[in-house]
């Protein structure tokens, strides 16, 4: 049996190698199965639909067709590595694994292979420091921005001071969930609030004890860093203990329709951050009209779908930029990196693309791979089943974050013998 499989696999290797043409290859490391599929599916749908729209409408980017290579990771790092290895040989331009765990895994590998990673709003926060992480980008926003924005918003809500308040963080017990803790600890010291940490283990269905604790300690605010099934369970549990929903706020990965709908009316008033606000973007109509929708097509216009479209748009703009810089249509991953580093998103350009307001203006530079660092706060209205934006884009407190990024990045550079600098 083994020899047969080996033979079959070698044959595949030969076949796929033969098929590689001069397309722009975009790997879609997605997960449509497992406990995180609720978030992975709409993201991947949006990601694919936008590229398919570019293919259908403009014949690709700069006259070059885009070829999407899907690979199911199941949010699992081992499968993620397998996906990375199987797609990189096809000339993958940029990896967006939508998983902090897989991002951590790929940062050293992709850096060694010279392929850029774009971890949009997730991954390693200190990758913002472009001189250390030459190949990793996390614009337009990252977790430490998120922590800072959340605290800023809560300060505004509490009349400018959080002195003596109690804030609980309920987080996914993984690299992802632990990311904001360091920033929150610094902020807690600065603003004099008490921070309670409540970890929820993968996959996050079991949260009774954590919510019992919240019920007992009655924190003034609860922040959540959750993903997948954990979000739905947390919101349901919060509703069960009658925790005031308007004091419960999630990061942007804990604020989709699918997270709040199961709790029904109980979820009314739940807040979350978002960096791809819900609006009636003209591009969505265009997608519906011109593209055979990926998946079952039911996700168009939802929070995470929009974010998939945003991710695809940022990649497409970077490809166009790279083509402009290097004067060739069929770019390499190294050229793609240059394009990403020179990327600049303006309101006029967003207007042209039919997605005005999906992102604040920002530009990327060699030093700063982090982008705008802005997000809005939105609130769920259970009766009309819509997310309503409560604020405009809020900026994070760079005075707090910059030294933390600096410290973490220089630690990474020292550990891995990297001399910071531009490529």
């Amino acid at each position: 049996m083994k020899m047969k499989t080996l033979a079959a696999l070698t044959l595949t290797g030969a076949l796929t190698a033969g098929m590689a043409t001069a397309d722009l290859v975009i790997p879609d490391l997605s997960y449509r199965t497992g406990p995180y599929a609720a978030g992975g599916t709409p993201f991947s749908d949006g990601y694919q639909d936008y590229f398919n729209l570019l293919n259908a409408r403009d014949g690709g980017i700069g006259g070059e067709e885009i070829r999407i290579v899907s690979c199911e990771t199941g949010f699992n790092t081992e499968k993620g590595v397998e996906c990375y290895e199987s797609t990189k040989a096809e000339g993958a331009l940029v990896y967006q694994p939508l998983s902090t765990g897989i991002t951590y895994q790929l940062i050293p590998k992709a850096t060694a292979d010279g392929i850029p990673i774009h971890s949009m709003g997730y991954g390693r926060t200190s990758a913002e420091s472009g001189e250390v992480f030459n190949w990793v980008f996390n614009y337009p926003v990252n977790y430490w921005d998120g922590a800072s924005i959340a605290i800023k918003y809560l300060m505004d809500e509490n009349g400018g001071s959080l002195e003596g308040k109690k804030i609980a963080l309920i987080y996914h017990n993984s690299g992802y969930g632990k990311e904001p803790i360091r920033t929150l600890e610094v902020l807690a010291e600065q603003h004099g609030f008490q921070l309670d940490l409540l970890a929820v283990d993968h996959p996050g269905q079991e949260q009774k004890s954590q919510w019992l604790q919240i019920r007992r300690t009655r924190p003034d605010h609860v922040l959540m860093w959750g993903w997948g099934v954990m979000n739905q369970v947390a919101i349901q549990e919060a509703a069960n203990i009658n925790y005031p929903m308007e004091n419960f706020m999630g990061v942007w990965w804990s604020g989709a329709e699918i997270d709040v709908l199961p709790a029904g009316a109980g979820a009314n008033g739940y807040k979350s951050m978002n960096f791809s606000p819900i609006k009636a973007y003209p591009v969505l109509d265009e997608i519906k009209a011109k593209v055979e929708l990926a998946g079952d097509g039911s996700n168009v216009g939802s929070v995470i779908y929009n974010r998939g479209v945003l991710a695809a748009m940022l990649a497409a703009e970077a490809i166009a930029k790279a083509q402009e810089i290097h004067g060739v249509a069929d770019i390499t991953p190294a050229m793609m990196r240059d394009g990403m580093e020179a990327l600049s998103i303006t309101d006029e350009r967003l207007e042209e693309l039919g997605m005005a307001g999906i992102s604040p203006e920002f530009s990327v530079s060699c030093q700063d791979h982090g982008g705008a660092g802005q997000a809005i706060v939105q609130q769920w209205d259970a009766s009309s089943q819509t997310w309503n934006a409560l604020t405009d884009f809020i900026s994070s407190d760079q005075e707090v974050i910059a030294p933390l990024v600096e410290a973490d990045a220089s630690g990474f550079a020292a550990e891995n013998n990297i001399t910071p600098g531009c490529l």
């Binding site: 076949l15 690979c71 199911e72 790092t77 081992e78 397998e82 040989a89 951590y104 050293p108 926060t125």
Partner: protein, 358 residues
């Protein structure tokens, strides 16, 4: 015809007691080793290494380890994931604390540390057996994962709680870290696999292996004929954990390079290795390899066939994978409860009688 003892004369006790008494088996064994050492390293690429061969070799070591405990010692363990985590974190702490010492020594030491931890968690086996012991080892699994999540010292206080393998070299060639060439990763794992299999094979057919099997078959009878159950059970736990620890260290340092304990060494890993042992064959070194190959290669093969050849949607392929592997596990357990190793053994029996099998 060609596969038989007849005509293959042994002139010493040593020759008579060798692992492969049949000449054809010996040649096959040397042939496999020659291919593994002399051919594959020159053909291997990143995909083959990272997706198939390196995980196969590492899981083989883990399966050998668990097979010693469960297959030979008769002690059911659900703590494999936790013990692999001990190996990984021990290796990480050693790698970062003593960067000048060779990674190979660190991997061995990580195995040794895991052996101590394993023996400690094996203590309950002196009082309880069967399902109850499984639950005790399950506690080890959850405790160890919780420990590595909770105590920041184990992950050197990194912000994300992840551990990352720094680059380490063997005779000047990187074997860990992103710059390690595929063949170097493969060779390191292969050396450890070969050594583990040889040691395991020879332990299991010597005195110590016989005491394990005596305990497994009937512990009271074993005690009556003079087998010390304390010694037998604890050595089984220690030796098994040693191999599991080595596999955990390699899993982290060579294969993945960055690990998050809950995700990489969760209860799923314990079950995966247990399935490998059950499907491969309890109480068989070959079975450990067969089981590891089955559960590592088959999902990748199904993915390639379903996704890349037939162009099915990725989620359907992923679901089909679960269905097919589940069905195959059931099929094997019903048709051949003793695993792939038993099929292999039957095939050899038939081959011995060929061309007139009955």
């Amino acid at each position: 015809m060609f596969y038989r003892e007849a005509g293959d004369f042994k002139t010493s006790y040593q020759a008579d007691n060798q692992t492969f008494p049949i000449a054809f088996d010996r040649y096959r064994y040397w042939f496999v080793l020659a291919v593994a050492y002399l051919v594959i390293p020159f053909m291997i690429n990143d995909y083959w290494a990272s997706a198939i061969l390196v995980p196969f070799l590492i899981y083989s070591i883990a399966a050998i380890g668990l097979n010693i405990l469960t297959g030979y010692g008769g002690q059911v363990s659900l703590g494999t994931g936790g013990f692999m985590a001990v190996g990984a974190y021990a290796c990480y702490k050693l790698m970062t604390a003593f960067p000048d010492v060779s990674i190979l020594i660190h991997v061995l030491l990580a195995g040794g540390i895991t052996a101590l931890v394993g023996a400690a968690f094996g203590l309950p086996s002196l009082r309880i057996k069967g399902f109850y012991l499984a639950v005790a080892t399950l506690a080890a699994q959850f405790f160890l994962v919780w420990l590595f999540n909770k105590v920041a010292w184990f992950y050197n206080y990194s912000a994300s709680g992840q551990i990352n393998a720094p680059e380490r070299t063997v005779i000047g060639i990187a074997v860990t870290g992103p710059n390690a060439p595929a063949w170097a990763q493969y060779m390191v794992c292969l050396v450890f696999v070969t050594a583990s299999a040889l040691i395991a094979r020879n332990l299991t057919r010597g005195t110590i292996g016989r005491t394990w099997m005596a305990i497994r078959d009937m512990d009271i009878a074993a005690e009556i004929i003079g087998v010390n159950p304390l010694k037998a059970k604890l050595t089984a736990f220690a030796v098994s954990s040693f191999f599991v620890g080595i596999s955990g260290a390699l899993f982290f340092a060579v294969y993945l390079g960055a690990v998050e304990v809950g995700e990489a060494f969760g209860i799923n890993k314990s079950f995966l290795v247990l399935f490998m042992v059950i499907i491969g064959g309890l109480g068989s070194i070959f079975g450990s390899f067969a089981g590891a190959a089955f559960l590592v290669v088959l999902p990748v093969a199904l993915k390639v066939v379903g996704g890349d050849w037939l162009g099915w949607p990725t989620d359907m392929v992923a679901h089909l994978q679960l269905v097919i592997i589940g069905l195959l596990i059931m099929f094997f357990l019903i048709k051949e409860p003793h695993g792939l190793a038993q099929l292999w053994k039957l095939a050899k029996e038939k081959l011995r009688l060929w061309p007139f099998p009955y």
